[in-house]
Amino acid sequence: MLNFVIRRLAVMVLTALVLTFVVFTLTNLPPNLEKLAKSEGSVRMSDEAVASWLQQNGHTGPMIGRYGQWLGVLPGWTFEENGTVTGRCIAKGMTAEDAPRYCGVLQGNWGFSTVFKQPVLDVLGRSLGHTGWLMLWVMIVMVPSSLIIGVLSGMREGSRLDRVLSTFAIATTATPEYVSGVILVAVFASATAGVSPWLVEQGWISGKTLFQGTATSAMDKITFWNFTLPVMTIALYGIGYIARMTRASMTEVMTQQYIRTARLKGASFGHVVMKHALRNALIAPFTVIMLQFPWLLNGVVIVETLFNYKGFGWTLVQAAGNNDIDLLLGCSVVAVFVVLVTQLISDIGYVFLNPRIRLA
């Protein structure tokens, strides 16, 4: 087991290194750097001015060397002009002798965001906090409801309940977040269309709409009114998928010999489902839920843009849209980290839950 975890960790570190290098290369392509130079310097820079700006700011040299500096395994660049030394690790008001030699991600220096005019770590910390709340509520809604739907439809395959729930599950998997978000807002949060005008007429709601169409106010205080729609939008897509996986694994378990034995023994149907089938049926969905995290990341980007909720996804869009290289790299590190860790957890959890799998 320990051997397995160590090997997995080694592959994970290698993957993370390759992925961050790819992102670094793609964000530091010559056209991107030229755009950065023009936005930091002046728009009407000549080609020579751009080239010298890039050289003064350490954007020249081989890509792998710059990546090493960003990572913090190579000494940061320095540039000497008219006796004053500037460099990657030399902060304002610091002499070249006092500055540390290495200052990359490993040393905790994630760079400076040009969009938010703040250190990248601060921006990431704040936005991840917001997204954390969103994710928490999504999980609270998504996991139990999808498991219940899956188990209910899988325990009697082909029944009417199964047909209804399966159709619902297929419909939700066919609805990407940007579609369900738009439809939910139109139905529940529009003052002119959907159910809200009718509810106001009946006098059942005091505000203008049933739910709020933006989640900006949820950053200060989460309420049922402003947070329901974003959470539902992300959760709906996942519910269908996890429910279908749970259903498949439940139907498979229900045909096993030991379920028939338990039924023949005289155990009630409810007892068989709860005691004998459930645990075995939940192994596959566990993996799926874990692997769903990368997908949630996708949903988070769409939903935060749609509902204007300034979390991680919104930050990523801002960083990418404004050519904010350091922030985009920071976001990618977080995203890649989340994906790899969830993969590892799902592998290990799978082994723990399923006694039939033994790893040498």
Binding site: A174, P176, A186, A320, A335, V336
Partner: protein, 384 residues
């Protein structure tokens, strides 16, 4: 002319779709009449779910084909005073007379844009899926069949791509700067080579015993394949028949790139499962070449799950294209594709929902149709 009510809007829309209804009725009548002779496709008409899915998919496919007959206005023309017009608003001094589903924030007809959007989506999604399958099959078969180092390397590479959050990848790849650097062209040069390799190996492994036939098939594949290849990847086709706009090429390549590792994993898994079967051992004993065993013994027997996944994947590709449009990546601003129209409509969503809801429902019904079709196919292919 008065503003229309919902009843007349719906009936007039149904009337506009007349070529689609005729084509659908003909397709269904012919398919049901000959369903016993049509193999898996015919069996689809035994499953109600599959039929509903097939009808939805074909509805949009025929809409894309007959879009020019269905649209009521030019999708790019703006009409004065009809900004955000509600569904059923009359258009004075015009040939057709009404904005059936209202106007968008630039006073264009939502209905016509939705219909033209179907064409935009269905032009790219199936083709991108086919390419992803070619790449996935060409790499997945040897990885699963031979195993060893090749498998380790290819699996590592596919896991690398899969570990990338899709949106981040799109934001990095689908940018104007990326087109400047020419990276999409290099990616296209690699990815578009796979169909040619696949076809040549396919014919060669089967007909290498009769050189006449082999030379004909391989020659034809090479000639047409490389002709299309030069045009699509490098825009260097002398006749100009095959060409792709650089932005579109970028979108296409990115979508293929994102999809192919998943196909690779599926094909690899299926191959590993099938290579232990008796007919594979029999072929090995006969002394068949590996390429023949992979392409003519294993691949046909893996077709069931692959066809099902193909339907699901077209839906997924449609969703991806919508995502790209939603973030305004790689498409021209006035493009009528569903993702960008949803994006354009969402700004005024709570006041004038129709401009965003119409393409949203269209996209949802197409993907739903593909999912139902895949479900029906899976059910029917498991029966035998």
């Amino acid at each position: 002319m008065d503003t229309l009510g919902w009843g007349s809007i719906l009936s007039m829309m149904a009337a506009r779709f007349w070529p689609v209804w005729i084509a659908l009725v003909v397709t269904f009548a012919l398919s049901i009449a000959f369903k016993r002779r049509l193999g898996l496709y015919g069996k689809l008409f035994d499953s109600p779910i599959g039929m509903v899915g097939f009808a939805l998919v074909m509805f949009w496919a025929f809409t894309a084909v007959f879009a020019d007959q269905i649209i009521t206005f030019d999708p790019l023309t703006q009409f004065r005073g009809l900004k955000n017009a509600l569904p059923g608003t009359a258009v004075p001094d015009s040939e057709y007379g009404w904005f059936l589903l209202g106007g968008d924030n630039l006073a264009r007809d939502v209905f016509s844009r939705m219909v033209m959007g179907a064409r935009e989506v269905l032009k790219i999604a199936p083709a991108a899926t086919v390419f992803a399958f070619m790449v996935g099959i060409t790499l997945g078969l040897p990885a699963g069949y031979f195993g060893g180092r090749l498998d380790t390397l290819l699996s590592f590479l596919s896991n690398l791509v899969l570990a990338f959050p899709v949106i981040l990848l799109f934001y990095l790849l689908v940018t104007p700067e990326m087109v400047q650097t020419g990276i999409p062209m290099y990616m296209a040069a690699v990815l578009f080579l796979f169909p040619v390799i696949f076809l040549c190996t396919l014919w060669n492994s089967r007909y290498f015993t009769s050189p006449g036939k082999r030379n004909l098939y391989v020659g034809l594949s090479l000639a047409i394949g490389l002709w299309a290849y030069s045009g699509l990847a490098f825009n260097a086709d002398p006749t100009g028949l095959w060409s792709m706009d650089p932005n579109l090429l970028n979108v296409f390549v990115s979508v293929v790139f994102v999809n192919s590792p998943t196909v690779f994993r599926i094909v690899r898994g299926l191959t590993m499962d099938l290579k232990a079967r008796d007919y594979v051992s029999a072929a090995q004993t006969r002394g068949e070449k590996s390429s023949y065993i992979m392409l003519w013994e294993i691949l046909p027997n893996a077709r069931g799950p692959l066809i099902v996944d193909f339907c699901l994947r077209i839906g997924y590709t449609t969703i991806l294209l919508g995502t790209l449009g939603f973030f305004g990546l790689g498409v021209t601003p006035e493009s009528p594709d569903w993702g960008s129209t949803i994006n354009a409509g969402r700004r005024l969503l709570s006041v004038y929902p129709h401009a965003a809801v119409v393409p949203a429902l269209a996209l949802m019904s197409l993907v739903l149709g593909l999912n139902l079709l895949a479900d029906g196919l899976r059910e029917e292919s498991l029966k035998d």
